[in-house]
Symmetry: C2
Subunit: 239 residues, 2 copies
DNA sequence: CGAACTGTTGAGTCTAGTCAATACCCGTGG
DNA sequence: CCACGGGTATTGACTAGACTCAACAGTTCG
């Protein structure tokens, strides 16, 4: 278990990103990193906590340090759809908008680094690589959203669940596909969250997981820990 | 039928956008408009024609002058999903990427204005308002994609079809919702395209249209022309 | 007129949803 | 220690909504 240093007010280099990350800090110069360190604030949220509300004004942006956050849209009658997941080093926030019509909730314990809106916008103004980095991030989000539209619109329940497990596997090991790779991880979402992401009912998600287990495509321990002996088989099931 | 002026090589002000548009030309300075006029090329495509292929390299960007284009993703087994629609004044192209894993097809007769990749990137480099405009466009696309994810993941067939009709109505008259407004338009998509957009079968789309007609929420002439006497009723049916 | 294409309608099937019961996992407190 | 309660997950029985297959209607074009 990692120890969490408390937030310190002295300026120092950025704690936002891990060393090997492609996160935001990669494109900041030293002066900006120093400013960032002075003005950012780190927060923690436990699983299930709301991070940003549906209609709250956006006064800060955030960088995910650890944990997973789900972005949700909710209909009047209560139906809800997860429209995106944010992992470590992902950036959260809607530039150029007063509100986002989206709520963000922690699905596991989450550590965030909050960046004041004014600071972020000032840095964007003076740092073009940062602006370009943000553009690329936004395009990646768009690609992900469109990829998921195919899953929601055209795939069966079996394929959806497999797609989700493969998606997480790819996050754990981005270099999949080369060999018959083995992956193992803890699911960052409850069955209910998975259902909301996949556009299914919890019962269907559960049944499909059982079926995947029966086919020995996955092994599950303690409801949450997933072992995938052959990711290629899983990928094929994902459609 | 409009006459199509052949492309002219003399520099002149931009023909890309209509006067009242929020399109790309709004953020270009006069020198750039002149350069654009020299290097753009206009093309037409008939309904059903492929505009950009799935894996073709991106050598040009494009501005939609008139007509509608669908962006599609296709699975190996042939299932396909429309992940976006492009209308007049919309910009098409994936900045910072070699390929887009997306195909674009005209759904009605389409007039495009092609912008060479190098020119676009040069202008982006020297014109920050343009860069910011593109960022906003991308964010709008992301919002639209996420909105549609809710439709695909959580809405019934009846709600999906109503959502689609309302979406088009909003495009025809962006100031809807104020009063009990009446809207009338020609559907820019075939039943098959609608099905691919909505994640439904053509038969289900057809049945839902029949049902909407029976409820007198819409009136259809010649299969394609839709009249909506009370857009509020339609919106309610859209969930 | 027939062919090709698009759209509508009907009948039967099947997938995924709903409702309900039960199992499992933990933490609390007797 | 075990009993109890609350939350989460699984499983079963039944149902409803959308899909498939198939027939047919309406248009356009040669």
């Amino acid at each position: 278990m990692p120890t969490i240093p408390p937030h310190e007010d002295e300026p120092r280099t950025c704690r936002l990103c891990s060393v090997r990350s492609n996160g935001i800090c990669r494109v900041l110069d030293t002066s900006q990193l120093a400013r960032l360190a002075r003005h950012t604030r780190s927060t923690r949220h436990e699983a299930g906590a709301e991070v940003f509300g549906d209609e709250t004004d956006i006064t800060t942006y955030a960088n995910v340090v650890s944990g997973v956050i789900k972005l949700m849209k909710v209909l009047e009658d209560g139906r809800q759809q997860v429209v995106g997941l944010k992992f470590a080093n992902d950036f959260i926030g809607r530039i150029h908008a007063a509100s986002n019509a989206l709520s963000a909730e922690a699905t596991s314990e989450v550590e965030l680094c909050l960046v004041p809106r004014a600071l972020m916008e000032a840095m964007l103004e003076e740092n073009r690589p940062l602006e370009r980095w943000l553009m690329k991030e936004t395009l990646r989000e768009l690609d992900e959203a469109r990829e998921w539209m195919v899953t929601l619109g055209r795939k069966s329940a079996a394929e959806r669940v497999a797609s989700f497990l493969y998606l997480i596997a790819l996050h754990v090991n981005p270099e999949l596909g080369s060999d018959t790779a083995t992956v193992e991880y803890d699911l960052p979402l409850t069955r209910s969250d998975m259902a909301d992401f996949l556009g299914l009912s919890i019962e269907t998600v559960s049944r499909q997981l059982t079926e995947l287990r029966r086919l020995e495509i996955i092994v599950i321990h303690n409801k949450r820990h997933v072992h995938i002996p052959d990711t290629e088989r899983l990928r094929q099931r994902a459609g």
